[in-house]
Symmetry: C2
Subunit: 304 residues, 2 copies
């Protein structure tokens, strides 16, 4: 297998592009895909202050790495979820990554914030762990970005994540979600930070290759709470389609963004957003889902 | 396992409805699903003259059987594709079915019509067999319905067929097809017959149970040309989703019809249709795809 660019020994095959790259040209390809995503969707510029939500996994560390190398002002935000050994090891990986690069890292601890870890919080709230965790993360990401004066929040969502979400939305015809699914979520309400996904053009496998070749030490296991999640089943199905027809995943997602999504636009305007009476973050209800969960558990919201 | 209706021994479990039925109540359920489809989509009434496209397989014979039992004026139309042993055996099954019920059966032979069988025709036309066969069938169905003065053409498409087509259309975001996919295709142009799919609410498995319990002798094997077709792969994937979450297939299809499809309506009006210069059937080109294929092969269109 020869590099498509230089003819040297290739290390990363990319079937969907009918290509293969040596390390050097794979890095070039990878950076190009990220920069194309940033430009095409006007995610941010070099003047913006960027906050990267990092989990310690390959995706978020890879995008932080790319942005730092390309000279963006990108700080990290890590939420310590307090999920036992998993969170301890993740925290270490993230700290080490930031130290090695002399990068600014903000850390928020769920236990310090709410007085109990994600698992307990979810149990007390009578919610599935992933749902409670998602609420907390979204709330904290947004608050930290606002308080820190950041222009944009970067997440590590990749092509596989986005295609799996899309498949779920299509199987259930969640037209409201179809209207909103995008590599860019603009700050359409006061107190809402812009969110972007610069890795949406790259697959899980490509990102893992990037992390390995760049020597990024990341936490390999998925969150132990996420086992058996629907998104994992959808990824499995999309991988079968990809096997049968390389590029199927990308065609599905990119085709949606170009041809499918515009058809659902009218659904977007229907939603009326206002500030949560408790925390001030945008919500469609009187009190946002995050604050309602905390009220139920009996935890006061920080800043109350 | 007890019948959900009468508590007697059940013979057909229907997981997606969390139900099971004895033979009698399964027949009742089956007829109800067909009648609901007919009514909800205004497919036809007892005053209409109905032509059923029959292949000798379980689906088309099952719907013809239901319509005859319910007292509709339903004639059969069988196309002998001239695909060796498969077509011979199919012809026998269809003839026997019609004779037993004293039903009117029209037969068209592709070999008599074009002077060569489907396989040869496709080869000469440089088209995949399924594509050439589809063109011929659509053309002959429409012509026979018009010439025979039928109000509507019934096909045996079931829930699995429709969900697989939908999955393909969604994976490729064929928005034009998404706009048109429906259990009813109205006669929106002159010389175009209305087409309906009264089995779209019933799965392949349910229809096979119906055929077996009614003692319908049908041809079990799929058309030998269809092996490895994309639709079979999509059905396999949808069956996996159904295993994980019973009812997933029906939710996907019915959800599309109710919530997804309306978003693609504007795509429908864009297509301009006119009569084919050769055969007079509606087409978006000067000469329809069927006639272009025949011209290429050097066969004159019947009626020229
Ligand atoms: Zn190279
Ligand atoms: Zn709130
Ligand atoms: Zn019963
Ligand atoms: Zn024609």
């Amino acid at each position: 297998m020869k590099c498509t660019k230089c003819g040297e020994q290739a290390v990363v095959p990319i079937r969907r592009h009918n290509a293969a790259f040596c390390t050097e040209h794979f890095f070039e390809y990878f950076d190009n895909q990220v920069q194309r995503a940033i430009k095409e969707h006007r995610m941010f510029t070099r003047d913006d202050k960027i906050l990267v939500a990092v989990s310690g996994g390959k995706d978020s560390l890879a995008i932080w790495d790319v942005l730092l190398r390309l000279g963006y002002e990108a700080h990290g935000l890590y939420i310590d979820l307090g999920i036992g050994e998993y969170s301890k090891r993740s925290t270490e990986k993230v700290r080490k990554f930031a130290e090695e690069r002399d990068a600014v890292l903000r850390i928020v601890s769920v236990e310090e914030e709410y007085g109990l870890g994600t698992t307990e919080l979810a149990r007390k709230a009578g919610r599935p762990a992933c749902s409670a965790c998602g609420l907390n993360k979204r709330y904290i990401f947004n608050r930290e970005a606002l308080e820190g004066g950041y222009d944009v929040l970067v997440t590590g969502h990749n092509l596989d994540d986005e295609a799996a979400t899309l498949l779920g939305n299509v199987l259930h015809w969640n037209t409201g979600y179809l209207a909103r699914q995008s590599p860019v979520l603009e700050a359409t309400a006061p107190n809402l930070v812009k969110k972007v996904k610069p890795l949406y053009r790259l697959t899980e496998r490509e990102i893992a290759s990037y992390a390995v070749l760049r020597g990024i030490d990341y936490i390999v296991e998925e969150c132990p709470m996420a086992k058996g999640a629907k998104s994992i089943q959808y990824k499995h199905i999309l991988n079968q389609l990809e096997e049968l027809s390389p590029g199927a995943k990308a065609r599905f997602l990119f085709g949606f963004l170009e041809h499918g999504r515009p058809h659902f636009q009218e659904e977007r305007e229907r939603v009326e957003v206002r500030p949560c009476r408790v925390c001030g973050q945008p919500t469609t209800a009187e009190v946002c889902a995050h604050c309602r969960m905390l009220q139920r558990v009996g935890v006061a919201v920080a800043g109350d």
